[in-house]
């Protein structure tokens, strides 16, 4: 009897391990595919002629008629729109996490947190349409907008902020709830009030979880394509620093938008370089994931 059970256990161990390995194989295949496709245009024996990798990485224009393909201004667009989205989303999500997990009565908190989950389920194209018909015209009409249009860095940041809110809130809330009640009781027992307890005890204790939530949000923002494509303007080059509001209201072309915009049309070396753009994006997200692993590894209540 025992022998039979061991056999069954063994069989199912292998059976489930097979499916677990499939996910790894998939990741491995995608990585290899993107990598091989992405480095193709820089190889000396490429059939459409080789493109200078340094020129690709540092170029400030994407102009297919002139065979000029630079993505540095897209990297800047991606980095700054994501950063700005986090700056917008962080206070909102942090305060709602505090409200949901610490301050509000249970029933209201439950309602709020399921509403947030609903927000997470809205497809990105809907956010894109909302951005295009509400946010873009609104920004266009703003008197402080020095440009003649609303498609801009700021529009992208606002749309992304809306999309990453649920990620940060859900992960942050779980982290705050995971803090043992004894922490709260000890703090309250020492005479601290609820707000002091929350900000001086609970948030520091849940810090790692909250930071993981933020990084996951960054990941989503970096990879978002459809909604971004609709509000970014997808300009052909350049990035303006400083010069007052121009920075916020300039049109940008994030890395994802570049791939999404042209992948179905492009041919020849441009198509190959779109894969290279995807490779750069892949590297960004890969690095980010290493950071996530590093941050979340340090124990539940780390400093």
């Amino acid at each position: 009897m025992k022998n039979k059970n061991t056999r069954i256990d063994n069989f199912f161990r292998k059976f489930f391990a097979f499916f677990a390995i499939m996910a790894i194989i998939l990741l491995f295949l995608i990585t290899i595919y993107i990598f091989l496709k992405g480095i193709q245009p820089f190889l000396p024996n490429n059939k459409y002629g080789s493109y200078n990798f340094w020129g690709f990485l540092t170029g400030m224009n994407w102009n297919s008629s002139n065979k000029e393909f630079g993505i540095f201004y897209m990297i800047l667009g991606t980095i700054f729109s994501t950063t700005l989205a986090i700056i917008i989303a962080l206070p909102i999500s942090l305060f709602s996490v505090v409200a949901i997990s610490e301050l509000l009565p249970e029933s209201l908190a439950k309602f709020l947190s399921s509403t947030v989950e609903l927000l997470a389920g809205i497809p990105s194209i809907i956010f894109g349409i909302f951005g295009l018909i509400v946010i873009v015209p609104f920004l266009n009409e703003l008197p402080i907008n020095p440009e003649a249009q609303g498609q801009s860095l700021l529009a992208v940041a606002i749309v992304l902020a809306m999309m990453i809110l649920p990620t940060i809130i859900t992960v942050g809330e779980a982290a705050m709830r995971a803090v043992p009640n004894s922490f709260r009781e000890a703090s309250l027992g020492l005479g601290a009030n609820k707000i002091q307890t929350t900000f001086k005890v609970i948030i520091p204790a849940a810090k790692r979880g909250i930071i993981s939530g933020i990084i996951l949000g960054v990941g989503r923002a970096l990879g978002e394509t459809m909604a971004v494509l609709m509000v970014a303007g997808n300009v052909g080059g350049g990035f303006k620093f400083g010069q007052g509001n121009e920075f916020f209201f300039q049109g940008i072309r994030p890395l994802t938008a570049n791939v999404g915009l042209d992948i179905s049309y492009a041919s020849g070396i441009e198509l190959q370089l779109l894969f290279s753009t995807a490779l750069i994006l892949f590297v960004f997200i890969f690095l980010l994931n290493i950071v996530v692993q590093y941050v979340s590894k340090g124990g539940k209540y780390g400093k």
């Binding site: 008629s65 300009v235 042209d262």
Partner: protein, 270 residues
């Protein structure tokens, strides 16, 4: 046991759904601009010929032509002329109809007419304010299509701005998005296909010629492009030939109905 029998019924149903009748499949694809007109024709053709099933893959003109070269599509559509490189591939192309590319601005914009030279200066970034063109004192928002769109290629060729477009221009992914942006932005200028124009935007005259079916037919309005059907003559099957023949007979009727410009007589570009 009951569950198994239900499962059996499901499987039987699924299999019967898959069972192939003798339907002929013609796969086509290409320009998003040609898509509405072409789809209408193929839907009507399919309802007349139930034994034929036609698919259309709206991926853009370049994709349509490449698809024919790679034998992915039996027929490809294009909203621009073939490039010199594509012409080397021994393709045949029939003109379906002509289409005007029109320049549009917001309804509130007081400007009614621009010259080709003005367009050149706007799209290369030499003129950046409507004031210089007799409009309001406000910046121009230049709206264009993504770099491989047939509409953009045809427009850039006619205005002579290939590779010279200002990097401030917005590059949008469909003509519909262009029209939507123009309708909501009072400083924007863009271009789209004549057949797609709605009354929410204002059509500009170019060199004092108002774009219309009439002025395009007479040759007065010059920013035009052909809608092409591309194929490899030696690879045509009997069904595809029959469909092409049907298109040739009906194309002027459909073109006229949809606001495109029919060609008189069938022109065969080789």
């Amino acid at each position: 046991m009951k569950k198994i029998s239900i499962l059996g019924i499901f499987i039987a149903l699924m299999l019967s759904g898959c069972s192939t009748t003798n339907q002929q499949i013609i796969s086509t694809g290409g320009s998003t601009s040609v898509q509405p007109l072409f789809k209408e024709m193929m839907d009507d053709y399919m309802s007349e010929n139930l034994d034929t099933h036609i698919t259309y893959d709206g991926q853009g003109s370049s994709a349509g032509i490449t698809g024919v070269i790679n034998d992915k599509y039996a027929l490809g559509t294009s909203s621009r002329n073939l490039t010199d490189e594509e012409k080397k591939e021994n393709l045949s192309s029939d003109v379906l109809c002509l289409d005007g590319i029109v320049v549009v601005v917001n309804l509130e914009n007081p400007v009614d007419n621009l010259s080709i030279d003005d367009l050149h200066k706007i799209y290369t970034g030499e003129i950046t304010n409507w004031k210089e063109l007799g409009g309001n004192d406000s910046k121009i928002s230049v709206v264009a299509r993504d770099s491989n769109a047939g509409t953009r290629e045809a427009f850039e060729e006619k205005v002579g701005i290939k590779g010279k477009m200002t990097t401030n221009a917005l590059e949008l992914s469909s003509n519909g998005e262009v029209l939507g942006t123009i309708a909501t932005n009072k400083d924007a200028i863009g271009y789209a296909s004549l057949g797609e124009i709605t009354n929410k935007v204002k059509l500009l005259s170019i060199d004092n010629v108002k774009p219309s079916v009439k002025t395009i037919t007479s040759g007065d309005y010059e920013i035009i492009r052909p809608f092409l059907i591309v194929y490899k003559k030696e690879k045509l099957t009997a069904d595809t030939k029959k469909f092409l023949k049907w298109i040739d007979a009906k194309k002027n009727l459909y073109a006229e109905e949809d606001g495109y410009i029919p060609l008189n007589g069938s022109i065969n570009e080789k």
